[in-house]
């Protein structure tokens, strides 16, 4: 059996093993590859940078643990940026399993890193059901659809919410989205109606779909997958989970490119033989 024949019949489990090794090795021996910041990520950074102090940024945790490796680092980086700029943050989510992830992120950044005060500097409304209908009503009257926070405190007892009533009081919305409900609903039912500034962090699979909305100005920024999160980490000068992951990403991508080339070469050779 020739080398070409052997390779064409290679057990695919060797490919799985090779990918696992390619992802694991850089975790033990970091390559330190540079992360270039792309325009869609920089745009979001600039928008947050230009917001007046104490403006309200709404972060919607629209993902669950399966999207956490890509979206949690972006959530942490954006929270860091917001608190560094002394902005107020309103967290909610349209995905119930995302609530603990939002709470974890707030605890890590707002409480431990910035010592921010709950109810004054940030609030968390937890899971908000209703999807599109919730968003239509949120822009009209925040207090009506968020009557209590995640801990059961009435919205009127939260000092931060005294001057936050509708979409016009929210300077920027960032949806951390991995599906439905998520970015689509925010664009169609919130941004289209209330014309507020909206940005999104997407899992890599979903990211290409949202570039057209960036071009039209419906989105003011776009963070795509772990790479986008790594870029934002670089902008806020932290080396977090996403930045660490980029070496593994690059190694795995090189391997996959090699496998694609090899697969095509084998296909071409076999075709030539026939």
């Amino acid at each position: 059996m020739s080398v070409i024949e052997k390779l064409s019949k290679l057990d695919r489990r060797y490919v799985f093993l090779a990918v696992a090794i390619a992802v694991s090795l850089p975790m033990f021996f970091p390559l330190g590859l540079p992360v270039e910041v792309t325009a869609p990520v920089k745009q979001l950074y600039d928008v947050i940078e230009e917001l007046p102090e104490r403006s309200v940024v709404l972060i919607s945790i629209d993902y669950d643990p399966s999207g956490a490796p890509e979206l949690q680092p972006a959530t942490l980086a954006i929270l860091r940026h917001c608190f560094k700029r002394n902005l107020r943050v309103l967290v909610l989510g349209m995905w119930a399993p995302g609530v603990p992830l939002g709470m974890k992120a707030l605890d890590e950044v707002a409480v431990k890193e910035f010592n921010k005060k709950y109810g004054v500097d940030y609030v968390n409304f937890g899971y908000r059901p209703g999807g599109a209908i919730f968003l239509v009503n949120l822009g009209r009257d925040v207090h009506d659809v968020c009557r209590t926070d995640v801990y059961g405190t009435p919205v009127d007892e939260l000092p931060m919410m005294r001057d936050v009533h509708s979409a016009k009081d929210i300077a920027l919305v960032v949806t951390m989205s991995m599906g439905v409900p998520g970015s689509d609903q925010w664009i169609f039912y919130y941004q289209a109606r209330y014309r507020g500034k909206l940005a999104t962090a997407q899992t890599a699979i979903g990211a290409p779909r949202y570039y057209p909305y960036l071009q039209t100005g419906q989105l003011v920024g776009l963070i795509g997958g772990m790479k986008g999160a790594a870029e934002y980490e670089r902008l806020v000068k932290t080396r977090g989970f996403a930045s660490i992951g980029m070496d593994s990403q690059s190694a795995a991508h090189m391997l996959i490119i090699g496998l694609v080339v090899l697969g095509n070469f084998i296909f071409w050779m076999e075709k030539r033989k026939k």
């Binding site: 992802v23 975790m27 490796p69 664009i187 289209a192 909305y213 039209t216 772990m226 790479k227 996959i256």
Partner: protein, 213 residues
């Protein structure tokens, strides 16, 4: 190795390994992990639906004397009338309601949020003087590529006339734009999958085994 993690980290790590063991071949460990996942998901969503939908929207208001909330329940139950031939016609009432609300929401959203802004975004750079005047060279080239891409892709999906002559050339160019789009999507999909694998391996090496700081 300093495996001093808490019990739940151990549970998560062992379940992760059990799921990944499927890559070698189907086995009892994978089956157990799969069944646990399905069982927990079913339980989770049952509780979730009760506390987020049924209780706050129906049982709690009914307890406070808000009897109007019974109307959606009746409409919901009417969905089951289609199971019987004699009562099947009753399903039209809840369906009419659902269709009405969905259309009302989605027509506005599709026009205001998608169609009009996208059309504007595609054609607005071509206002007199804008191209190569307002924008730099490469941005202008990008806008031209965008317009050509939109038009030729639309031509490719125009099936009322045979793709011959100018229509054939347009459709052929449209295929190339589609292929580039599929390639970009595939590239991003690979990146997403590798991110998930990295997330799990990071958990195993850092949170479970503590072999990386």
């Amino acid at each position: 190795m300093l495996m001093t993690s808490g019990p739940w980290v151990w549970v998560a790590a062992l379940l992760t390994l059990a799921i990944y063991s499927f890559l070698y071949k189907d086995n009892p460990f994978y089956k157990v992990a799969e069944y646990i996942f399905v069982g927990i998901s079913a339980g989770y969503w049952a509780i979730f639906l009760w506390w987020n939908y049924a209780y706050p929207n129906l049982f709690e208001p009914l307890g406070k004397g808000k009897y109007m909330n019974i109307i959606p329940v009746v409409l919901g139950l009417m969905m089951f009338t289609q199971l019987f031939r004699r009562t099947a016609w009753l399903v039209r009432f809840p369906l009419t309601f659902v269709l009405g609300v969905s259309l009302g929401l989605q027509i506005v959203a599709a026009v205001e949020g998608d169609m009009v802004p996208q059309l504007r975004g595609t054609f607005s750079p071509f206002t007199p003087g804008a191209l190569f005047g307002t924008y730099d060279f490469w941005t202008s080239v990008g806008y031209i590529a965008l317009l050509v891409g939109v038009l030729t892709t639309l031509i490719y999906f125009f099936f009322s006339k045979e793709h011959k002559g100018i229509l054939g050339v347009g459709a052929r160019i449209g295929i190339y734009f589609l292929m580039i789009a599929f390639g970009a999507s595939f590239g991003y999909t690979v990146m997403a999958r590798i991110s998930l694998l990295f997330g799990r391996l990071h958990f195993l090496f850092v949170d479970w085994m503590h072999v990386i700081k």
